[in-house]
């Protein structure tokens, strides 16, 4: 019988990393992800995990240490939150362009100003174009599983990309839930030892990252683009394998909840999906045909799956937890992706978005109910009045 534990997301991530047998860990404190590193430092100090624990002098250094270790052939783990994530921005593209699959655990946090500890997706969503695999977990269990899954995907020779393994700050990182601990033998079966085709090794010398002709610029970017085109198939394969070995029931890209006969759905990623499930249940009790579709990977964005799934409904409400000031839809980021994915669909659903939970504000059941009102109306008329609603501050919500 598998061991069950009561863990918050931070601890779950740490145990996931330990089970993945990470070899170089690099830390710098920032709330709320710090808990992950505190947990790992204990495991290393007690000799339960044989890894180098390197105290980076900032997030920029953390990512550099991690991709340096990945380049030398070690499985590397780091993490951050909020402004720490954006401080390290310079290092993301060298890691993905260099095809160095280290992992960065994120417990997200609002960016300044002003100082705010709360969860918000803007920190990592701002880095979505840096060539990293990226997605959010909803529960501590999913955090632990994703940590192991992401290494397997990122280290696949068809992929070789670094990964942002994200969870909502506090809502997931600090609220404990039941976690079924995998056996080490299961993880070892699922995740082979890390091997890089061009590791820095004096017996096989290579030059890593020389200057190129400007004309080769597109070619090197095509490489990453190709990797992202190849990744979805790898994800499907990996998730299937994971489910088989660990006895779970993950969908590769979209987790649907009560969508069978739904008129409208909340399209959401991360920890607020848990509240959304309750909201859907309550709405259903009142006869409202609501459902939820949870996004598991925002990079690579599962365009085909989103088009196919969301076109079944009359209205879709993207529950945004990040900002894109001045963007096409004047609100968050998910709606851009969703509307693009649905552009070629016949009879697309009405799509709008809800700015909610910024700065760590709780997206309450009441907020979901008011979103539901807008969506029910849109489902009825087939039209949306606005592309973005700032929940609690906008008309009708």
């Amino acid at each position: 019988m598998a061991k069950e534990m009561f863990l918050a997301g931070c601890s779950a991530a740490a145990y996931g990393a330990a089970l993945a047998r990470v070899e170089v860990i690099t830390s710098f404190p920032i709330r709320p992800y710090t808990g992950i590193m505190m947990e790992l430092s204990k495991l290393v100090a007690n000799g339960e995990l044989d890894a180098e624990f390197v105290h980076g002098e900032g997030e920029h250094a953390q990512v550099a240490i991690a991709y340096g270790a990945a380049a030398a052939g070690a499985r590397a783990y780091t993490g951050s939150s909020g402004v720490g994530v954006t401080y390290a921005m310079e290092c993301y593209s060298p890691a993905s362009g260099g095809r160095l699959p280290c992992q960065m655990a994120i417990a997200d946090r609002a960016l300044d100003p002003p100082g705010d500890f709360g969860s918000e997706h803007t920190d990592v969503m701002s880095c979505r174009d840096q060539g990293w695999i990226m997605g959010w977990a909803e529960t501590p269990q999913e955090v632990l599983d994703n940590t192991i899954i992401y290494y397997r995907i990122g280290e696949d020779p068809r992929v070789l990309l670094p990964q942002f393994c994200c969870q909502d700050g506090y809502f997931v990182s600090h609220i404990p839930g039941k976690v079924v601990m995998p056996e080490q033998s299961q993880v070892d079966e699922f995740l082979p030892p890390y091997k890089h085709p061009h590791a820095l090794d004096p017996t096989k010398p290579i030059s890593h990252g020389p200057q190129i002709y400007p004309d080769q610029g597109p070619a090197i970017n095509l490489q990453r683009a190709q990797a992202f085109l190849d990744t979805p198939a790898v994800i499907e394969e990996v998730i299937e394998d994971f489910n088989k070995i660990f006895g779970r029931d993950y969908k590769p890209f979209l987790d649907e909840y009560r969508t069978d006969d739904a008129d409208f759905v909340f399209f959401i990623q991360g920890g607020h999906a848990r509240t959304a499930r309750f909201a859907v249940n309550h709405l259903r009790e009142k006869g409202v045909k609501a459902g939820m579709v949870k996004l598991r990977f925002v990079r690579p964005f599962p365009t085909e799956a989103v088009a196919e799934t969301l076109s079944k409904f009359k209205a879709v409400g993207c529950v945004e937890n990040s900002t894109s000031y001045g963007g096409a839809m004047k609100g968050g980021n998910l709606i851009h992706e969703v509307r693009s994915a649905l552009y070629d669909v016949d009879n697309p659903p009405a799509v709008t978005s809800f700015m909610s939970g910024l700065g760590g504000e709780v997206v309450s059941l009441e907020e979901f109910y008011s979103m539901a009102k807008v969506l029910a109306e849109a489902a009825k008329t087939g039209k949306v009045e606005q592309y973005v609603y700032w929940v609690g501050f906008d008309k009708g919500v």
Partner: protein, 116 residues
């Protein structure tokens, strides 16, 4: 829904191909992809009679274009890479090196494998 493909497999012409992650094999003795001998306007010419093998040309050459042939006991110059900075001429202990104009055919002009 429309089943449009977002991208077909790319085809990159060979001269623009970049190896995975821009990792290239390390050179062994020379980097033939970056011939610099054609930079010269003047080249060093050695008088082997005068040379006392002080090795200053070898040690001070930024382009590693002087080496000692241990068997022949004489210095060997690498025409393909010498940029003609003439540091060797300036640093020679016994003044056995002279600068010669690159276009002076009497001393023999250096011809490269291909023009760059």
């Amino acid at each position: 829904m429309s089943k449009k493909k977002y991208c077909e497999k790319f085809s990159v012409p060979e001269h623009l191909t970049v190896p995975l992650g821009a990792c290239i094999p390390a050179p062994v003795k020379e980097q033939r992809a970056m011939i610099t001998g054609n930079w010269r306007t003047e080249r060093p010419v050695i008088d082997h009679e005068k040379c006392n093998l002080c090795l200053n040309c070898f040690i001070f050459c930024p382009d590693s274009s002087w080496h000692l042939d241990e068997e022949e006991e004489k210095m060997v110059w690498n025409a393909d890479f010498c940029k003609g900075c003439l540091l060797c001429v300036a640093e020679c202990d016994v003044d056995c090196l002279d600068a010669e104009n690159e276009l002076n055919f009497k001393g023999g002009v250096v011809r490269l494998d291909k023009p760059y």
